[in-house]
Symmetry: C2
Subunit: 223 residues, 2 copies
Amino acid sequence: MFENQQPIQKDKLHDQVYDRLCTLLREGEFTPGQAVPVSKVAKAFGVSAMPVREALTRLLAIGVLANVSGRSVGVPVLGYDELTDLRNVRLEIESLAVRWAVKNCDKAFLAEIDDLLGRLEKTEQSGDIAAYIKTNYEFHLRLYQQSRSPVLTEVIDTLWLRVSPHLYQLEKEDQYKVSNIHHRKIVESIHRGDADAASEALIADLSDAYEVLVRMLFQTEST
Amino acid sequence: MFENQQPIQKDKLHDQVYDRLCTLLREGEFTPGQAVPVSKVAKAFGVSAMPVREALTRLLAIGVLANVSGRSVGVPVLGYDELTDLRNVRLEIESLAVRWAVKNCDKAFLAEIDDLLGRLEKTEQSGDIAAYIKTNYEFHLRLYQQSRSPVLTEVIDTLWLRVSPHLYQLEKEDQYKVSNIHHRKIVESIHRGDADAASEALIADLSDAYEVLVRMLFQTEST
DNA sequence: ATCCTTGATTCGTGATGACATTCTTCCGCT
DNA sequence: AGCGGAAGAATGTCATCACGAATCAAGGAT
C-alpha cells in the first residue's frame, strides 16, 4: 500500500492562473490577434505578475499562445494553411484515439459516454451555447481518455486548446445542431464495437466544424 | 514585398537557455530522477535565475521535465507502462509523418536524406556515439519535416525530447549498428515512393530501440 | 490633410529579495 | 546500532523593481 503514491501537489498560484486561463480560452474569451498583457491578467485575477508570467509561458510553450506583435503574446491569428494543418493532424490523432477507446471499451465507459451524450442533447435543446461547448469538450475528452494513453490524451488536449478560441466563433452558426448527429453516431458505433464507424463519425464531426469555420473566416477575403 | 515578414525575434536569454537545455537533454546529460535546480543551471550558464526558471517552465509544460521530488524538477523516471505508451504513440504518429513525407517527396528532400544517411553510416563506422545520436536526430527530424505539417513535426519533436534522455542509455549497446539497417530501408522505400514500406521500416527502427531499452531497464527488476 | 517625428506610456525581460517549504545532516533517544 | 526528530541549508515561489524596447499619441512639417 502507498507504494505508488504521487506527492500531493498543492495548487500553486501559477497553476490556478493557468487553469483559469485555459477555461477562458475554451470559452472563447480571447479574440485571436488581441494581446494578453501580463499586467491586465494579474490585475483581473488579483495576483502579482509572476504567476501570470509563468502561466503564459506555459501556454506559449505548448503553442496555444504566440507572439502577436513584437512584445505581446496572445492567441495567434490562424491562416488557412495553419487551420488546415491543425485539422489534418487532429483528424488522424483523434480518430486514432477513438479506435483505441473502442478497444478499451467497458461498462463504466459506456455509461459515462451515454450520460454525456444525453447532456449534450439536453443543452442543444436549451440553446445554452456556453454549456454546450463545455459539455462537448467533456464528451470528447472522455472519449479520448478511454484510449488509456496519457500521452495521446495530452497531445489532443493541447490541440483542442489551440483551436478552441477559433472554434468558439461558431456559436453564431447552428453548427452544434448537426454536430450532435455525429456524436450520436459515434456513441452508437462504440456500442457496436465498430471502431471504423466510430472514427468515421468523429472525422465527420471535426470536418464539419472545420468547413463551417473556414467558410466563415475566409469567405470575405477571397472576393 | 515584405507583407508577410515576421518581426525578427531577438534571442532572448531564456530562449538561449532553453535551447542549451534541449541540446543537453538530447545528448543525455541528464540522469532521470536527478533534480535540475535552477540555481545550479543559472551558475553554470552564467545567467540569473529568471531565464532559467522560464526555460524549465517551458520544458515542464511540454512534459519533458516533471516534478521528481516535492519541489525539484528533473527528467522523470519512466516506468514500463509510460515507456510503452510513449512507444505506441510514437509508432503511430511518426509513421504517419513518414507516410505524409513520402507523398511530399521531392528532389531536394531525396538529396538531403541521402546525405544524412551517408553521414549516419560514416559516424557509425567512426564509432563517435555523440555524433551518431546527433545525426540520427537530424535524419529523423528531416524526415518528419517533409510531412509539411508544422503541427505534426512539433508534436513529434516534443515526444523525442521526452524519450531522448532515456534512449541515450543505449549508447553502451550496439543498437546503433542495427538501427542503420532500418534507416537504409526507410530511404530506399522513399526512393521507390513506397509509403507503407517506409513506415514499416520506421516502426521497426523505433521498436528495436524500445525493445533494447526495456530489456536494459527492467531485466533486473523482474527477477 | 497626410505623413513623419518625438515624447509619453505601456509592457516584457531580467535581477534581486523575502518567505515558505523541503531536504539533509547530525545529534539524541530507544 | 537503528530510528526519529530538530536545526540548518538548499530551493522553489511569489513580489517588486530597474531597464529597455515597443506602442501610441500628439504636434509639427510638407
